[in-house]
Subunit: 377 residues, 2 copies
């Protein structure tokens, strides 16, 4: 297997909506293709960004794709001559200083993800199977739990309608955005809970002075989890919130490395058997780093059922299946390139079976594949 | 004061040398100019990267410069109508999620630094004076302590000659690179200590299994400090090293935010009155964030004498003078654009007086100004 080309395009994904911390009007995301030759065949491996941290075109073009394309070809392969995604990460991380895990882990994660698509296609298996075999996961299963993430702040409201649409699409747990303002948050919970079981996302914006009252007030609603009550790197505040929370806490979507996830484990006061870890492999150097994170938690008596990757869409769903994780996150609106699932996949009772196709299967999600296919031509 | 244009160029700064973790052959850095109109005059503010984390051209062009240039002009000014560097940071950080402090803080730091150069030029004062006035620093002083940073790993050696050249140039403390390999490190210390008082830099590479023996072996050498013995985000290991170190520890050059610096303070086991903090304002969102970091340490009984900013060159020297910090770092080779100081500045007995010029004074460092001036044309 030999890499021939790598192409990135940064696509606008702006939408007139907000969470508690940012607006999405000018949001962008990276689409990436790696083109390779394998056994006389031309193969294309694709990756598409998680949403929320902007595209990584500059970094990919300045540093990471040139290193990938100039690496010794043998250094990128496993002993069977197949592309080794973790080896690709090592190659592109040459001469990068430690620490500072921000945009870089997302740029590298896209390369790792596209390398996984290539590897699985070369093996002729769905990505989840390739990940399960590589990681030695015994209880991998293409039928996974999925939950819907919606309920952003929008002009004109429509929260109940959005949650109802998600429930009608087969999701049994729906996550909505809150702001940390108790009156408004309670009104939103009341509006949405009539329709589905709720998880809520504070995007780091629950003020310490309001927390006691806030947690007490939401206690009656049997929330599936309360997401990111504290800013992502304030482990001390998170531990305080964990001690008072009436529901599981979930966090980690803004931690992008093993180093940062280990600090969450060491200092965040999270509880095995209750809380959830949302590190996003696509934004955090890829599956290899993610498995090392899982193993660090397992050494501290956590199980994989605590892992609930942020965003990541089709790619993350394969990670959930291939590594035996708790559930995958879905933007339920299939008209979005990063919403819905593969043609022919059906969500029912909060679960979905990943269709049998080689690789990630972007080819079976037409409005997303339309962004990717031109990069491989 | 009104911004007219912003231009960045990524310049190659490759050199055939290594530290314990990376090679510098393909290193790049960003040169940035902000052009403004002020009182009928055209002014240019400049910034030049710290070295080691690569240029930030992609991020500046994709996200941060467009936000700066499209911000409401009034939102960037203080009540006197002068450009407010901290307000520029708030403007360019619009719609950025929390956490993930990697490349972004360096891109934003460059904008903040160029805004400082503009502000000081508009005021007609040296940057250190503008920073002292803004921050309310009472003991600001243009005469600062400086130390030389050299002794990278190079083909052919020449360590003693390099340290001797630094001493002959007026530096009394010289920092050299070590690797964590005890025999090689002792040989390097022996070679260099005959010439100058030494600090040593491990760039995160002291293995836990070797640490006890290593610290014992270097104890007799009266090292000024031992820099980055542990990886930057492994606070637990750093605290263990701090308990056994025979000299002050210094760290923080790879922490790029208030959030990360606060975690260092909370979990790193550093000791006020002994250890040193090397956060680099230019790589960490600028002077505003840096002052907030200093204040967090002051609230924990630290003093500003513990602050020793990494790299940053002319800009960091002004921060040291304007905020009353311990010392500035110098690459002593003035033939490098980021080495030596202003024409007419002289180092003697490890101190130097910043010349009286408006702003940073890049205009008086010809081989650096040659990289910056074309951006303002």
């Amino acid at each position: 297997m030999r890499l021939l080309a790598a192409r990135e395009r940064t696509v606008p994904l702006g939408a007139p909506m907000r969470n508690a911390s940012i607006a999405f009007d000018a949001m962008t995301a990276s689409a990436l293709a790696l083109v390779a030759e394998h056994g006389g065949r031309r193969l294309a491996g694709f990756a598409f960004d998680s949403i929320g941290r902007y595209g990584k075109g500059g970094l990919l073009k300045e540093r990471f794709l040139p290193r990938l394309l100039t690496a010794q070809p043998g250094s990128l392969l496993d002993k069977n001559g197949l592309l080794d995604p973790d080896a690709c990460v090592r190659a592109v991380m040459a001469n990068e200083k430690a620490g500072g895990h921000g945009e870089r882990p997302g740029a590298v994660g896209l390369i790792e993800a596209a390398a996984w698509d290539l590897r699985a296609k070369a093996l002729g298996v769905p990505l989840w199977k390739a990940i399960a075999d590589w990681s030695g996961t015994l209880d991998a299963n293409p039928r996974i739990a999925v939950y819907a993430s919606c309920g952003h702040f929008r002009e004109g409201g429509g929260l109940a309608e959005e949650v109802k649409a998600a429930r009608d699409a087969g999701y049994s747990t729906v996550k909505i955005k809150l702001s940390g303002d108790l009156a408004s948050d309670l009104a939103r919970i009341e509006e949405a809970r009539r329709v589905a079981r709720l998880a809520v996302d504070l995007n780091g914006c629950l003020a310490p002075g309001r927390a006691t009252e806030w947690f007490e007030a939401v206690a009656p609603f049997d929330l599936a989890w309360i997401e990111e009550p504290a800013p992502p790197l304030d482990y001390e505040l998170l531990a305080r919130y964990g001690a008072m929370a009436p529901a599981p806490l979930a966090t980690g979507e803004n931690l992008f490395s093993f180093d940062d996830a280990r600090n969450l484990l060491r200092y965040g006061g999270l509880r095995a058997g209750r809380d959830l870890v949302q590190v996003d492999p696509l934004l955090a150097y890829g599956v290899g780093e993610y498995v090392r994170i899982i193993e660090a938690f397992e050494r501290a008596s956590w199980t994989r059922r605590a892992f609930l990757p942020h965003a990541g869409h089709l790619f993350a769903a394969h990670c959930v299946a291939g590594l035996g994780l708790r559930a995958a996150e879905a933007a339920p609106d299939a008209s979005l390139p990063y919403g819905g699932w593969w043609s022919g996949a059906h969500v029912a009772d909060g679960t979905m079976a990943i269709p049998e196709r080689p690789g990630v299967g972007f080819e079976a999600k037409p409005n997303l594949f339309a962004l990717l296919a031109p990069l491989a031509e």
